[in-house]
Assembly symmetry: C2
Homo-oligomer: 204 residues x 2
């Protein structure tokens, strides 16, 4: 690609950045999150990427295809985490811990894509697909909380669906302030969330 | 006011809705939240309220004034809650519980205004004022968590600022799904959040 319009002065001899779908996706996801998906036009995508509109169409067929690819970057590992060994075998409390830890790891690794996912409205087929996936994920978690109650390791006065919503509300709020470089590591953050949710802050 | 342009057919004899600042504010806050503050024009406010632009200016001086009034509806009671008897006297754990309960009550009572507050970006002076108020509020809560640690009632391995962020991340996420008519009462929800945060879900 030689359509770079970034306006950046390139030192003589430095190659112009080679655009690939990955890089375009990264830029598009940032613009979707900043402007909202509905508020983003191909002109905005061209400006932000430095590509011409025709070069963008060389990579993708539609704006919605970019949205879908971006959402898959968050949803694929999240949904896959519900089928991992740690999520399907062992005591329910260990499975819940696994789901919480993996969710925080995925968020830290793929923050821009998770932010995009959490801002989805439901105006397009792709957005409705993403919302359905999120509901399926929430259902798995609520089910594991139910099982933990049945196994007698979780207090019986807990309401499983509300508890699942509150736990993942806490996790999802992490996107609003967390910077992997500035704050604690994903591992430490996951440990802190698990400790808070499972044992509370009170000294027992 | 008789400038209603809502297009609603009024049965003969029914008075046209009398607009006051309260009603205008309610409509504006809904539009700000749906379209974003930057994306809202006086034309949008006129359409949504059924008022002419000049009638809107009869009530307020600028769009930013409406934003400020809307944000105050959420911030005034939140900031006031930090000065209530229950928040300033007694053991730190009781004060923390008071702050959590009041926050959920205020959210349930004033949901549209709290949603507006939590979506603020910081592009205008009013938005930066609101963000500064939120930071001040968070600081109070983190301080109370610190005191609870110092009093020995909270586990020492707890990091106060992160814990405060996580607790209020959980509370703030409630806005995404909570409907006071459909779900549990604010009182019950507050009890559930406190129980989760203070004691965790594990049977001890």
């Amino acid at each position: 690609m030689s359509e770079s319009r970034s306006g950046r002065t390139l030192p003589s001899g430095e190659a112009r950045p080679v655009y690939n779908l990955d890089r375009l996706l990264e830029v598009a996801v940032r613009v979707f999150t900043e402007r909202g998906y509905d508020g983003t036009s191909f002109t905005h995508l061209a400006e932000a990427s430095g590509l011409s509109k025709s070069s963008i169409f060389h990579h993708i067929e539609s704006k919605e295809q970019l949205l879908r690819l971006g959402l898959e970057r968050a949803l694929d590992p999240l949904m896959a985490s519900t089928e991992e060994e740690g999520a399907v075998s062992g005591p329910a409390m260990d499975r819940l811990t696994h789901l919480i830890r993996r969710n925080i790891e995925i968020m830290a690794e793929r923050l821009p894509y998770v932010k995009l996912l959490l801002g989805v409205h439901g105006n397009t087929e792709t957005e409705r697909w993403a919302l359905a996936q999120r509901r399926a994920y929430d259902k798995v978690v609520a089910g594991v909380v139910e099982e933990a109650i049945a196994e007698g390791v979780v207090r019986e006065d807990i309401d499983a669906p509300t508890t699942a919503r509150l736990i993942f509300g806490m996790i999802n709020s992490v996107r609003e302030w967390y910077h992997p470089e500035r704050h604690t590591t994903p591992d430490e953050l996951a440990a802190q969330v698990c400790s808070l949710v499972l044992d509370g802050i009170r000294r027992h």
